[in-house]
């Protein structure tokens, strides 16, 4: 592989997969309060 292709592949991986990791970490850290009082998954 040529250098520019390697650089762009790494950039894409870091930005996209890194963005995913950050998004997951942020969601977990923020920790939404789940509505456990609502039993919404009853499906008639």
């Amino acid at each position: 592989m040529n250098t520019s292709a390697i650089v762009m592949m790494v950039v894409a991986m870091v930005v996209i997969w890194g963005g995913l990791a950050l998004a997951i970490a942020s969601l977990v850290r923020h920790g939404a309060v789940e509505d456990r009082t609502e039993n919404v998954h009853r499906d008639l």
Binding site: M1, N2, M8, I16, G19, V40, H41, L44
Partner: protein, 533 residues
């Protein structure tokens, strides 16, 4: 609050009847399952390659952040705040907007009937991979022996080799749908998505170990910076993000309505958006590594073997499988991934229709599944298990995507932003439990940037279709299964919207307690119970 005496208990009970995802994790996996579909595997790699290679990363990311994720959050906000299927959610925004929801439902119904056929092909090819049934001529095998495609015409000549797997796909999907939101869609996503990621990762590793893989990755990632000055490259990036994220045609509205009221929809949206792009990147690496191997094996350049869509999956990949070491494994992984990705997307598309029927008619889960699923399956079998199935599928797919999804998404977005002026309320709703907070930037992106980008994509597509008949198909075929279909869908949608809601349906605003951003007494203001109108 509802002005009816029993309003306070009626709404939670209604939600229990609708069903819902048991946790944030299940919802996120289901949303990823919907977004990650056949297009991620067979469309993204070629779009990236054709539009600047490595340089495409820039417009792609800009499109993701300025249009894809903001639009995804808009869908989430509409469904999560209004706690209903697409028609019910739009009706709760404003009664006259209900037709937009039914237009989206119609598009989903059409997509479902042909999408199932492609999954059926992939299912059959998973088994063909074991003994490389296509022999030395994958193209001739696919169009001739497998599909038995003849002249371009509509026939009733059934192809049993397609009919049987297609019937199996419908049986499996209807079983999932009948089980419900959590036990059907949720449970399927919990199993299928991790398996899909692991199987595709294994495929990528195998492809990267093939000789010539580096040449394929060179072709995909070598940047052509001059491409960034081309409007069509930017349109391709916005188009790819838009088509890939399952936004604008009811799916994310429906799924969001099944999520707990206190959930962080912004954070969930970011995870879904980046996960979808992450899978596309993985697919790009795997597909082009395999294409690089094929090019080297045949002593040609990668551009001579690169392709997308049906040609990539059912012609190029079988050729790669025939030449690669452990080709059967590669084939089972590739076509198995298409089946898994396809099923999780198909159930999300069908759920839009089932959810709408349930909300409108107050039917049970099984009844609605049969009411929607049986006609869909019959139409699917009649149209796509015949010798003319491939032509009808190609035309319907092209027109429904370009002028169905694209137009309804654009019209819905403009209506919500400019006619209903609902963005501030929807943004406030997202901000109650969502982080990061959305504000003026998000409103600007959803009301101006994203619609403008979609309009450009639409105009470019329209210009192309007016300049030349799509794929040189006969005019009658394009008129009947293309233009007539996309014109009929909004008409039917707004006609269905004239039918009365089941008695007691809360319309005009979110149901009581659904929107913490709104004072409780305001939720019921202008409350209107459903019924003839």
């Amino acid at each position: 609050m509802s002005r009816t005496a029993d309003g306070a208990t009626a709404q939670p009970d209604q939600e229990r009847r609708r069903g819902g995802f048991s946790s944030r994790r299940v919802f996120i996996l289901a949303a990823i399952g919907s977004a990650v579909g056949l297009g991620n595997i067979w469309r993204f790699p070629y779009v990236a390659y054709e539009n600047g290679g490595g340089a495409f990363v820039l417009p792609y990311l800009i499109a993701l952040l300025t249009a894809g994720i903001p639009f995804l959050l808009l869908d989430y906000a509409i469904g999560h705040r209004n706690r209903g299927s697409a028609p019910l959610s739009f009706a709760r925004l404003r009664r006259g907007a209900e037709g937009l929801g039914w237009w989206q439902v119609g598009i989903c119904f059409v997509i479902a009937i042909y999408y199932a056929a492609v999954i059926a092909w992939a299912l059959r090819y998973t088994f063909f991979s074991l003994d490389e049934a296509w022999g030395a001529d994958p193209e001739g095998f696919f169009f001739g022996e497998f599909l038995q495609a003849g002249d371009v015409q509509v026939t009733a000549d059934v192809v049993p080799g397609v009919l049987v797997p297609l019937a199996l796909v419908w049986l499996a999907v209807l079983a999932i749908m009948a089980l419900g939101v959590q036990r059907g869609i949720g449970a399927t996503s919990l199993v299928f998505i991790p398996v899909l990621v692991l199987a595709f990762a294994a495929l990528v590793v195998q492809a990267l170990l093939l000789p010539g893989a580096g040449a394929g990755l060179d072709a995909l990632f070598t940047p052509d910076w001059s491409a960034l000055t081309s409007a069509s490259v930017w349109a391709a990036a916005f188009g790819q993000i838009f088509f890939s994220l399952s936004i604008g045609f009811g799916i994310m509205i429906t799924y969001a309505s099944y999520v707990g009221r206190r959930e962080d929809m912004v954070g969930s949206g970011l995870v879904v958006g980046f996960a979808n792009s992450g899978f596309e990147l993985l697919a790009g690496i795997g597909v082009f590594a395999a294409l690089g191997f094929m090019a080297q094996a045949n002593g040609v350049a990668v551009d001579e073997v690169a392709g997308d869509g049906i040609g990539l999956a059912f012609v190029a990949f079988p050729a790669i499988i025939s030449e690669a070491p452990a080709g059967a494994l590669l084939g089972v992984l590739f076509f198995g991934c298409l089946v898994l990705a396809g099923i999780t997307s198909l159930v999300s598309v069908i759920e839009v229709v089932i959810s709408a029927v349930r909300d409108k008619l107050d039917t049970g889960r099984l009844t609605a599944t049969l009411l929607v699923g049986v006609p869909a399956a019959v139409l699917s079998l009649v149209l796509f298990s015949t010798t003319s199935g491939i032509y009808v599928l190609d035309v319907v797919d092209h027109f429904v995507n370009q002028y169905g999804i694209l137009v309804v998404a654009l019209v819905s977005m403009l209506a919500v932003a400019w006619a209903l002026r609902a963005l501030t309320g929807l943004g406030d709703h997202l901000n109650v439990h969502g982080r990061p907070r959305v504000g003026t930037g998000w409103r600007l992106l959803t009301s101006v940037v994203a619609p403008a980008a979609l309009a450009v994509v639409l105009v470019l597509a329209l210009r192309e279709d007016i300049a030349a008949a799509y794929e040189d198909y006969p005019t009658w075929l394009l008129l009947v299964f293309g233009w007539a279909l996309v014109v009929a869908l909004p008409l039917v949608g707004f006609l269905v919207a004239r039918l009365p809601w089941r008695a007691g349906t809360h319309l005009d605003g979110p149901p009581p307690g659904a929107d913490p951003a709104m004072p409780a007494d305001a939720a019921g203001a202008g409350h209107h119970e459903g019924g003839p109108r």
